[in-house]
Structures are given as structure tokens and as C-alpha cells.
Symmetry: C2
């Protein structure tokens, strides 16, 4: 098969928490409360820096830090308590500034996009609903893949659902786990500060660009080579 | 007067929230709730990055961001709601790992130290009590100085209370506001990651060193030139 003569449209694979919805700090305190119920005191900033990785991996990393004394029953209970804590906090959570507008703009300009989150459908469902995501948009959750981030499975599944080549996908995320998963998937990472990481932490992980939040990304879509409405492959409008 | 022939002992001026107690995320959500009660939706990460600055400055910065529509009555009410929110959350707050041990070690080795916080006595008091700070230790709060951080007033007052020359003081803090105030005071800044800033954000602000938390600082006191027990000025023990 000869090489394709031209590149296709870029596609966007979005993380959810801290990237499209302002939910990271609720996750942090839900984990903290869950751990405290099991008698585990962990500094809050250390929990923050692990948000976005698979819940199972989070608990395993914690177990290692605690010297391997966590029973699998405890690990399961902590994850259950975290999910309950998030259900209680759902009313505090809002879409991030510009998130809905960004997604609408991508749809309007026929740029394919999907959501890929380390969260389970149970937790992610209400947040996705809050964004007004159309039914046709692929939403890949932890339940649909063998491993969550920083494994690349979620983004691989999202790109497959869009039939988009990974090398032409932008992965947009707020944590180093998104960026590591993006690189392992062969996609380009774009960081957002809205999850509370520092700019340099994301840049050092290998992002192509770092923006403040979805509104800031929307204002700079041209920097990612996204052309205004209808100018992609097959378009007849002149630039 | 001839120059002093030798340097004195280094002194430590500590920030409180995020530096000695694990309270930053509670502050973040207390501000968020206070703002929401006044109908203001601000992304949580933007609140996080302003923790540690004076409450008045915080509200003024917010006012600017919102286009100057905040009345002074609203500004006052937001600060009052934040203080109430912190009172409600006090039971969730713990000393950071190693904080009590670090302070005890400094006292045991006769290194002078003080606490200087942008918080008011009302909020800071219970946190200081939690650390078991002896009565003789100077604790400078917002109530005692004209301007809180990033103005240097708090650290100037703390150094004065210790009769320590500023250029031989280490200011230990978790936010860029501490580091800016330290530099304006002419002291050396030491950053801690325990407030949730990234390492590079603190380093870029001009810290001499960045440690994870008080436990990590305690383990590396020698890097700051703090000699083990009794080896300071006037000591006769050999190194």
C-alpha cells in the first residue's frame, strides 16, 4: 500500500477531570477521606500529584509507600469509599471555563474528538453529562480497557473509535499521567494547568504546548494547526 | 562600628499553611465556597495558586479578574465566609510529616525559629496549637503587620522578634508568595512541595533549595549549614 499522500485532520483526545471539568480538588479530598477512614494519613499534595492515574495503581503506589501492609480488601474498600465521596461532591463540580465552547467549536469545524478517562463510568458519567457531550462522541472509561493511565490503552481505544491515526492525535490533559500515556500511545501531548500542576512539570513530561484551561486552548487552536471551519481535507474553501 | 568578625547562627522563619500544617486544600475549598456564596465561580486551581498571599490582596486580585465589580461589602463578606469555612474544616487538618520533629530539632540545637503567616490569629491560632509550639516562640500573624505576603513585613517582624539579621535567615515556605516576601526581606528562600506547587515554580521564584516537606528538610538540614547540636557560635565541640 503506498503511503497516504496527505495528512488527515488532527483529532483531539481529552482527559476529563481537571481538563474539561473542575473536579481535581474534589477527587483529592475524596481520596483523603477514604484513606482516613482506613486509618491512613497521607499528605494531601501527594494525593493531588497522583490524581489521573488508575485508581488501582494509585492504591498500589500507596501500598508501596506504606511498606506493603495494605490488604486487598482494604484497597477495594478505599476505592469504593472514594467513589462514594465523589458522588457526595458532584454538586460542587463545574465544567472548566471554555470547556463546552471548545468542544462545540471542534464539532462545528468537524475536528474529531473523544474523551478518555481513568475514571469509571459510574463517576465519569455525570461529569460527561454536565458537558453536554453528544451521544455520537466516543467516551472511553476505565471499564472498557485492561489498564488505565499512564498506560496508553484509554487513548488507543479513543483513537480507534474515531478511526484516527495516533500520530495525528492531540492528547489534552492536566496531569503527567496523561502526558506519559500520550507519549506511549504515540500521540502529541498538550497540557492544561487547570488541574493544578505547574507549567514546568507538564512541559518536562514532554508536552508540545501548555495552556491555562480549555478557554485558553480554544483561543490558541491555530497553534495546534486547527484551521477555521471547513478547511480540512476535502474542503474547497481557500485559506 | 567594625564589621562583626563572624556570622551568627542561621535562623528559620516558617510559613504555616502548606509548610508546617497540611491545610492548603482546605483553604482552597473554603475560598471556593465563600466565592460561590457570593455568586462567583472561579476555577479551583486559580484559587490554589493564590493561597498564602494576603486575604485582602487575594480578593483585590479577584476583583480585577472579574472586572472590578466587587463591592467592599462583598469583599469583606467573602473573607468572613472563608474564615468560617476554615473553622468548620479544622478537624480535617493535620501537621505535615516531620513538622513537629523539625521544630523540636531546631529548638534542641538552639537554632532560633519563628512562624510568620498571612493568616489572622483567629485562623492560625488553632493550627499553631496543633504543632505544640512553645510559648516563647514568636508567631507573627496578619493582625500584627501593615501588609501580609508577598510584602516582607511578616518576615521582617519575625526576624526582629528573634533579633536575627535577615541575611542569615532562611524563610521556609510552600508558595511563591513566601519566596517573593523572603527576597524582598533580604532572606534566603527554601521551598517545600507540601503546599502543592511544582518544584520548578518554587525554584523559578528564586529558592535556594526545594524539599518535599518538613520531614525531607529535617533530613537535609546539613545542606543549609545547620550543624548538629551545640556546634554553633561559642561551641567548643570539634566537628
Amino acid at each position: 500500500m503506498p503511503p497516504r499522500p496527505e495528512s488527515s485532520r488532527p483529532a483531539f483526545l481529552f482527559d476529563l477531570d481537571g481538563t474539561l471539568v473542575d473536579s481535581v480538588y474534589q477527587h483529592v479530598l475524596a481520596w483523603r477521606d477514604a484513606l482516613a477512614e482506613e486509618g491512613i494519613d497521607l499528605s494531601v499534595w501527594k494525593i493531588h500529584r497522583r490524581i489521573g492515574m488508575s485508581g488501582g495503581l494509585f492504591v498500589r503506589a500507596l501500598d508501596r509507600e506504606l511498606g506493603g501492609n495494605l490488604s486487598s480488601k482494604q484497597a477495594e474498600r478505599i476505592q469504593k469509599l472514594h467513589a462514594e465521596g465523589m458522588r457526595r461532591r458532584i454538586d460542587e463540580i463545574r465544567p472548566l471555563p471554555g470547556a463546552r465552547e471548545l468542544l462545540r467549536r471542534l464539532s462545528a469545524t468537524k475536528v474529531p474528538w473523544a474523551i478518555a478517562t481513568s475514571g469509571r463510568e459510574e463517576t465519569a458519567g455525570p461529569l460527561v453529562a454536565m458537558l453536554g457531550v453528544p451521544k455520537r462522541i466516543p467516551v472511553i472509561t476505565r471499564d472498557q480497557v485492561p489498564f488505565a493511565k499512564p498506560n496508553p490503552d484509554l487513548f488507543l481505544a479513543a483513537a480507534k473509535a474515531l478511526r484516527a491515526p495516533l500520530r495525528e492525535c492531540f492528547v489534552v490533559g492536566d496531569s503527567v499521567w496523561d502526558i506519559l500515556a500520550a507519549r506511549r500511545a504515540g500521540a502529541l501531548g498538550v497540557g492544561l494547568l487547570s488541574g493544578g500542576y505547574g507549567k514546568e512539570e507538564l512541559a518536562e513530561a514532554g508536552t508540545y504546548r501548555v495552556y491555562e484551561d480549555p478557554a485558553d486552548l480554544l483561543a490558541h487552536l491555530d497553534e495546534l494547526g486547527v484551521r477555521p471551519g471547513g478547511l480540512h481535507k476535502g474542503s474547497v474553501r481557500a485559506v
